[in-house]
């Protein structure tokens, strides 16, 4: 039993690297995902995976297939889209979802145009998205740094960010930190996503951000415990997904996300606020 659970990681360096990468992602991206969910911006990750294209394409046109250049280009494009849509959402009648959709579509069109200018049939989107089992040192450092930056920055803006989510008007009436919380959070989302896309692929980056958050919503009623639960879920799914991929010989990214999906569906049904649990509970009511 012990062997079954641990020997793949003891024997193979690539499995250990993959596990470390998953742990790092779980620690950094999951709390971000909680806030995305609570701000009703869960689809931002998918929008971003398209929004980074012009930056990456531009970097490709200039310096060829360099991961570093394309990452930097992607982050610049992603930040531009996120910040512009944030400015429009905060200062005009448009809501965040609409303004983000508008800017990411413009960005995607620009990206497609740039790719066609390059006259090369390489599918940039395909080149951009990595794989968990092929983590080299550089990529591992990238993911670990992103996680460190994220946790540090999130703890700096945590209190204003929670207030911005709950009662933005109040935060604005007592402090100047509202834009710091809002834009600071957007920057964290973008750097996490873009670094994640390039290191691990869009499926892993977005999936490990959103799915644990969605599952944890059914277990916890308090933001602190919700973040904690989501991280635990992400760690468990990362570990068991890698084992599944090892023993069944299937790709690791989808295996991890499917594990998350299984936990998510289990949570919908059986968690404290799950469908079946609620059914069972409401047959009897309390006295007061």
């Amino acid at each position: 039993m012990f062997d079954l659970l641990f020997s793949p990681f003891v024997e193979f360096a690539f499995m250990r690297r993959a596990l470390v990468g998953c742990l790092a992602l779980a620690l950094g991206a999951t709390p971000i995902g909680i806030f995305l969910m609570l701000r009703r911006m869960s689809l931002m990750g998918d929008a971003m995976s398209h929004a980074v294209l012009p930056g990456a394409a531009f970097a490709y046109l200039i310096s060829g297939l360099s991961l570093a250049a394309m990452t930097v280009g992607g982050i610049i494009a992603g930040l531009t889209v996120a910040l512009l849509s944030g400015v429009v959402a905060r200062t005009t009648v448009l809501r965040e979802d609409t303004s983000l959709a508008a800017f990411y579509l413009i960005s995607l069109a620009l990206g497609v145009l740039l790719v066609s200018l390059g006259g090369n049939s390489i599918d940039l989107l395909h080149v951009l998205f990595g794989s968990v089992l092929a983590l080299d040192n550089a990529t591992l450092y990238l993911v670990a740094s992103m996680t460190t930056i994220t946790i540090f920055a999130l703890s700096l803006i945590y209190r204003p960010l929670v207030m911005e989510c709950v009662d933005a008007g109040y935060l604005r009436s007592v402090s100047q930190l509202s834009p710091v919380a809002h834009y600071g959070f957007l920057v964290l989302v973008v750097i996490n996503l873009v670094a994640g896309f390039h290191a691990l692929g869009t499926l892993m980056a977005v999936g490990i951000m959103i799915l644990p958050a969605a599952a944890a919503r059914f277990w916890a009623r308090n933001i602190g415990t919700m973040i904690f639960t989501a991280v635990i879920i992400a760690v468990l799914a990362g570990y068991s997904g890698l084992l599944l991929s090892y023993y069944a010989g299937v790709p690791s990214g989808p295996a991890i996300i499917l594990m998350l999906g299984a936990i998510y569906i289990f949570s919908i049904l059986f968690a404290r606020d799950g469908v079946i649990t609620q059914r069972l509970r409401t047959t009897r009511h309390l006295e007061a």
């Binding site: 009662d167 007592v174 919503r217």
Partner: protein, 260 residues
């Protein structure tokens, strides 16, 4: 106007949206420690006036001078834009009132938790501390917002229809709190539609109908004549209104709506 140092001075203030005035050429001083009711029909500019004081609506004309530092102003909007689905407890929500002392980073000691608990107890919500805000009723949430105001401990308190959709017992409780604040020397401006309550508790009243109708002692301001005058306000903006020419020395940029 008075011997007291004014807490708030408005001189020839016009506030509005898309150049249309919602508050038109308003002059008033609010002395420190005043308990002022702001009354008037729907669309008479009461909320806009408070937003002007908070700075979220910029004057189209005139000056608003506030003697109180921004950190000592508390504002309770008519409909606080609170995300009630956010997973946070009543206790944490009320604790936001300590922002001016704790900011983004300073930790919460035992004394702070006691202060928060006292505020919660004062508005009659003891026992609800751990409840998520999404499970509170409208009136309970309003009480919680008052608990937050207690902790804010502001010198100038702006309340926009604090008792709308609240039962009379709760309204009386909260009114008692407002009177306590006033006794402690706080300046309080409260928008309300309950004239009975205004006559009973508020020494001074401002009657607004886009234009100032009357300001002063409540019994004088709420005369039948004044109330009738306030009623005749036209609510709709006139799209074809001319540019306001009132006062030659000022350059007017807003449109002037005819007052019927």
């Amino acid at each position: 106007m008075t011997d007291c140092q004014p807490s708030l001075c408005l001189s020839n203030v016009t506030l509005g949206y898309d150049q249309h005035p919602a508050v038109h050429h308003l002059d008033m001083d609010v002395p420190k420690g005043q308990l002022l009711a702001i009354v008037g029909p729907n669309g008479s500019g009461k909320s806009t006036l408070l937003k002007g004081v908070m700075g979220t609506v910029k004057p189209l004309e005139g000056k608003i001078i506030i003697q109180t530092p921004r950190s000592a102003i508390a504002y309770l909007p008519q409909q606080a834009d609170i995300d009630r689905s956010f997973p946070i407890s009543l206790m944490d929500m009320v604790a936001m009132g300590l922002w001016h002392r704790h900011g983004a980073y300073r930790g919460f000691g035992r004394g702070c938790y006691q202060a928060v608990q006292q505020a919660i107890a004062r508005v009659g919500l003891r026992g609800f501390e751990k409840r998520p805000i999404g499970t509170l009723s409208g009136g309970q949430l309003q009480r919680a917002l008052f608990a937050r105001l207690i902790l804010q401990d502001a010198d100038l308190v702006l309340l926009d229809e604090p008792f709308a959709a609240i039962d009379s017992r709760t309204a009386n409780d909260l009114m008692g709190l407002i009177l306590e604040w006033n006794k402690a020397g706080k300046t309080i401006l409260a928008v309300t539609h309950d004239l009975h309550q205004v006559r009973q508790y508020f020494p001074k009243t401002l009657l607004l109908a886009r234009e100032l109708v009357a300001i002063g002692d409540t019994s004088d301001v709420l005369s039948a004549v004044n109330l009738l005058r306030a009623q005749t306000l036209t609510e709709a903006f006139d799209d074809d209104a001319h540019v306001c020419q009132r006062g030659d020395e000022h350059r007017h940029i807003h449109h002037h709506d005819e007052v019927a």
